[in-house]
Symmetry: C2
Subunit: 451 residues, 2 copies
């Protein structure tokens, strides 16, 4: 707490201030993520002579293959990586996977390697909750002699482990949707004094902001944290916004009541609700990307947020995506050792991930889409060149669609559960009647014919 350390990184006439941090022993570090190829200079500033005035240069080379940079908001409601690569968010949830010890954590990574997810919701702090009672290996603070946390001294090992796991996700192409606070706690992390909260935030930002795959989530279920006020949440956003040199995405996740995602420091909505039909309303309300990242999980536990079928979760993914939103996965099947994916990771048992992979392929094969004449009764997105209609629980035997009369279109029937795409014969134009097999959970994809 007595040492201040920052560094200025400069490229030509541009200079960026970055906070440093203490990393154990006699180590102090400053991390930086350059965004421009070329020569950069640095110069440190500290109240400690040995850390002050250190300078040097380094070369920023072109990004390696697979490195598309951080994710940004794009066209109001969507995402792209910094290099312009579209990012269709398909997240999952493993709240405390990084507090399970190396064996299980590595199994989780192995599972993620072939899973369809490119974002993962995870907590900085360990989690105390049903199915999640184990003591973590690391804690964020050093202990006092009486065994209590000394909240003036961060434990570098805790953060080094966190960073290792964030890096592991990065290497798999997965965004770390990092949850900064949450209510499920027996250690005191959810009830720290404000000055400790704020110091923690600055320390964490200094440590991990340079990871390109960071998304900041101020909280999981912020509204269940009785010790925090709305002013606290606003201040947390402001601290992160002020100290993150890279302006990673920022949001906050609700239980009962939404945070006002219209506030200027919120980059996108992070929503817990099962009614994906309302994605189009939330888009209108907040004018930001809508990530419905908790829509209830595939599973069979007693809590209603964790016992829907794979069919139902697949349905909610399609409903949200075909209204111009993004949806998140989780899995909560009863397990003899309480290893539920949503909390601890491990392996996936469910049937929805294969369907989510299929949906992701469909979405990534098209443009980012906005609702098109959407209504509570019609789930449809796209434009005059590309249209995706999701029929959900409806099962018409025919669907009337009016296409521009001066162009020709191909039409495909997508079975979202069977994961089949069936092209209809010929091309379509103007007002047309699309024959359908009269079963639920179909989608219709209409694309400009390239012939």
């Amino acid at each position: 707490m007595d040492v201040s350390l920052t560094a200025t990184f400069s490229h030509q006439h541009r200079a960026i201030e970055v906070d440093g941090f203490y990393d154990g022993g006699t180590d102090y570090r400053v991390r930086f993520m350059p965004d421009t190829v070329g020569e950069w200079r640095y110069l440190t500033h500290s109240n400690v002579q040995e850390l002050d005035g250190l300078s040097g240069t380094f070369a920023c080379t072109p990004a390696q293959e697979g490195n598309h940079g951080p994710v940004r908001v794009h066209k109001t409601f969507h995402f792209v990586h910094d290099d312009g690569t579209p990012h269709f968010s398909f997240g999952t949830t493993c709240y405390a996977w990084n507090h399970q010890g190396d064996a299980l954590e590595e199994q989780t990574l192995e599972t993620l390697r072939t899973a369809p997810f490119n974002k993962l919701r995870m907590c900085v702090f360990p989690k105390h909750y049903a199915f999640s009672q184990n003591e973590p290996e690391f804690h964020a603070f050093e202990r006092q002699e009486d065994g209590r946390f000394d909240t003036t001294r961060f434990n570098p090992a805790f953060f080094q482990h966190l960073e290792r796991r964030i890096g592991d996700l990065r290497d798999l192409g997965i965004e770390a949707d990092l949850i900064l606070f949450h209510p499920y706690d027996r250690w005191g992390y959810s009830t720290m004094p404000s000055e400790v909260d704020d110091r923690y935030l600055r320390y964490l930002v200094a440590r991990v902001a340079a990871y390109r795959n960071i998304w900041w989530s101020m909280a999981n279920e912020y509204d269940l944290m009785a010790a925090k006020t709305m002013q606290d949440w606003d201040r947390f956003f402001q601290i992160v916004q002020t100290h993150d040199p890279y302006q990673h995405l920022r949001s906050i996740h609700n239980c009962r009541d939404f945070y006002d995602h219209g506030k200027p420091w919120v980059t996108h909505c992070s929503i817990q609700r099962p009614n994906l039909e309302d994605v189009s309303l939330w888009r209108q309300q907040y004018r930001k990307p809508v990530v419905a990242d908790e829509v209830q999980y595939e599973g069979n536990i007693q809590h209603n947020w964790g016992n829907i079928t794979a069919e139902e979760l697949t349905h909610r993914f399609w409903e949200g995506c075909a209204r111009g939103g993004y949806v998140g996965h989780g899995e909560t099947y009863m397990h003899p050792e309480d290893i539920l994916w949503w909390s601890k990771g491990g392996i996936l048992h469910g049937e929805s991930p294969a369907r989510i992979a299929f949906l992701r392929e469909v979405m990534e094969a098209g443009p980012a889409i906005d609702p098109y004449q959407t209504y509570w009764d019609l789930t449809q997105a796209g434009d005059d060149n590309y249209r995706l209609i999701y029929l959900g629980r409806h099962r018409p035997v025919v669907k009337a669609v009016t296409l521009p009369a001066d162009k020709q279109y191909t039409v495909e029937i997508i079975d979202t559960w069977a994961m089949t795409i069936t092209p209809l014969e010929g091309t379509f134009s103007g007002p047309c009647q699309i024959p359908l097999p009269g079963k639920p959970y179909l989608a219709v994809r209409i694309r400009l014919s390239l012939d």
Copy 2:
């Protein structure tokens, strides 16, 4: 139009003014529905000498078996008949069944005889819409020489036929939810001048208010009637409220936007929406009974309001009922002669009516229920003596329930689709874990043990 006719009906010191009406030829009539056993007197008032000052007495005898009187609002959110018999509303929809000619109309009545419905939504005026293009036998007005309607002269035959069908429903124990205006029109009924609208309402009320099974629905999809303003709708309610001596139930049915059911002349909500989870919100918002009488129909036509499965409609019935609301049925299967139940009646083809019959038995075996600790994530109604939990799309393998510790309860698992009720062994008390088969669309009924 030149003849005024009213009558005063009196019982002891109570007097009720009732409007009379012209019924063709030289017939003028006054209809009256007494609500009290005993001797009643009447005295007519008219600007025509032959109709003025006519008087007499008659005896009102006790109601015949099966006659429970009109339906009233009960305990804010529910319904009872005037004699105190509970009324659990299970409606269906046959908008234009009464404009199909006797053969089909009688087939509809025959179907209704064994169907589970005790309310039917029907239009006074004929309907012009998809699957409903036929010319009706009767029109509400006499024709001028040029073939156009003479809106100063009602056609008694039209109304006599309507009354006959209302009486047929009454004899089957079915409430006639009579739709006074609707937008689907090629004859001009939806665009009449205000004075014709108002005269029609007074004439209709004078004719049919004495039928005990009348519910007034100002409109189907009022918000699609471009020629009417909100002031018109308010005035229509006021006219009906002013002239109906019996104060039958009054509501109005929306398409896109709800009418403000909080207005004082609205007795209950009549709602078109598929999201039955919101029944509990609408109850809170309006503090009136919620009748979700259009929740999309079992069928396979191209319109999304008419192509959900029997399973899905059954689910919506349970969701609404277990949140303290009432739900309506409709059926729209493609038919070679365009005889779709929702518009023309005929016979039922679907699989939901059997399940609605089963649900009705369940509901009628218990008390009228209000939400109990309900949340968007929990569908539950009842109190300390009776509880109905509907699990819907959820499929937990166990459900934690906390019951009063000083009483014993029986627990039954209800399969809403298979229509089975399976009692669990023994009795339950205090905090308990209810084992479940882990499949969707189950309900749990918990009742105070009578042992």
